[in-house]
């Protein structure tokens, strides 16, 4: 009898689990991974059209949160074919040698003003460096949106080093912004 009650309780607990789970599935059709930069001192934006993200996130349980993102660099699109082709070449992203970028979080924290930040390791063009993301998570029942942003220095990763390092040619600071549409995983 105790065993049956125990089983029932477990089942009921399972059924009345929190409205949003830890694990989320990304809806690629409504998610973007974009960046802004400058070219000849004129702002432009681009995006990586193919990326996968494993998102475990519960705002009440940051200790167990984890993002793991893989980016297909060749899916770069800056709305300028010549620029995209050049950007994938050896002087820049060098997709022949480094077709993917990878980001994985190591820890999450809440700042004094309530902002959530996560520290992680970004591997880009064969270089791994710590990167901090600002996290904005908005749950909506079984769905949620997750916005992350970061500021990167392209030269930290050897993108356009040497003769292309001149910031008046290509801006050194790159603002990255990810917008993920999430569905709770059953």
């Amino acid at each position: 009898m105790k065993f049956v009650i125990g089983c029932l309780c477990t089942t009921l607990l399972g059924l009345t689990a929190p409205a949003f789970a830890h694990a989320w599935k990304v809806d690629p059709a409504h998610s973007t991974l974009a960046f802004t930069n400058t070219y000849q001192n004129v702002a432009y934006s681009g995006q990586f059209k193919r990326f996968t993200a494993k998102i475990d996130y519960d705002p009440a349980d940051l200790a167990r949160a984890r993002f793991d993102v893989d980016v297909d660099i060749a899916s770069l699109d800056t709305q300028n074919g010549e620029r995209d082709e050049a950007a994938l070449g050896a002087d820049f992203f060098d997709t022949a040698k480094f077709p993917h970028a990878h980001f994985v979080t190591t820890s999450f924290r809440k700042t004094a003003d309530g902002e959530v930040q996560t520290d992680g390791q970004l591997t880009l063009r064969g270089v791994t460096r710590p990167v901090t993301l600002v996290v904005k998570f908005v749950p909506n029942g079984d769905n949620a949106t997750l916005d992350v942003s970061a500021q990167l220095d392209r030269l930290d990763f050897g993108i356009g080093a040497g003769e292309w390092a001149d910031p008046s040619m290509i801006g050194v600071g790159v603002k990255v912004h990810g917008h993920l549409a999430l569905h709770a995983q059953p």
Binding site: Y39, Q40, N41, V42, Y44, T78, Q79, N80, G81, E82, R83, A86, G89, E163, W164, D166, S168, M169
Partner: protein
């Protein structure tokens, strides 16, 4: 040196427009034909930016030139010039004006359709004519830019040839007055 054109010859401003645009077209042709052969380096990007800046300068100069010409008379044609030659000269000049307007505009259009920056000598941005990438019109604008340039070269052969013919064969004032302006009247005139 009169600024305005007279019955006898071209004013100083028209001559400045004519020769500055002529020089810039020559520079543009050399840059334009050689830049497309360059490998991708920052130098290539700078040379392209220079070609765009000079092109927009020519566009501005030709617009100013047309505005100025609208308020001016043109000097008289040589009296001996047959009517068909006058007509041919007028048609060639009109076509040259149209080409010098259309070539920078088609370049601007191609640049816009390519979603490439257009910064006038690093000083200020010019707006896009297409509001971003336009993959359909991009190749057409490039073809137009190149075709119009080919036409310009052909017409310049006619234009320069005619000027030299006037000067060396006809020994009239046509070329001289575009270089020197109206001849000073000597004697009792």
């Amino acid at each position: 040196m009169p600024l305005r054109s007279t019955e006898a010859g071209w004013g100083a401003l028209v001559r400045v427009f004519h020769w500055s645009i002529a020089l810039l077209i020559l520079v543009q042709a050399v840059i334009g034909l050689s830049m497309v052969e360059m490998g991708l380096t920052p130098a290539k990007v700078r040379v392209f930016a220079l070609h765009k800046s000079i092109g927009m300068t020519i566009l501005a100069l030709v617009l100013l030139r047309i505005a100025w010409r609208l308020g001016e008379r043109r000097p008289a044609d040589p009296p001996a010039m047959p009517r068909w030659q006058v007509r041919a000269a007028r048609a060639t000049h009109l076509a040259l004006y149209l080409l010098i307007l259309a070539i920078p505009l088609s370049g601007w259009w191609f640049n816009s359709a390519s979603n490439a920056p257009l910064v006038w000598f690093g000083w200020f941005d010019l707006p896009s004519l297409t509001g971003g990438l336009d993959p359909v019109w991009k190749p057409r604008a490039l073809l137009l830019h190149q075709t119009l340039f080919g036409l310009l070269v052909a017409l310049l052969v006619v234009h320069v040839g005619a000027a030299l013919w006037h000067h060396f064969k006809q020994r009239d004032e046509v070329l001289r007055r575009m270089v020197m302006g109206p001849r000073k009247k000597t004697g009792g005139g």
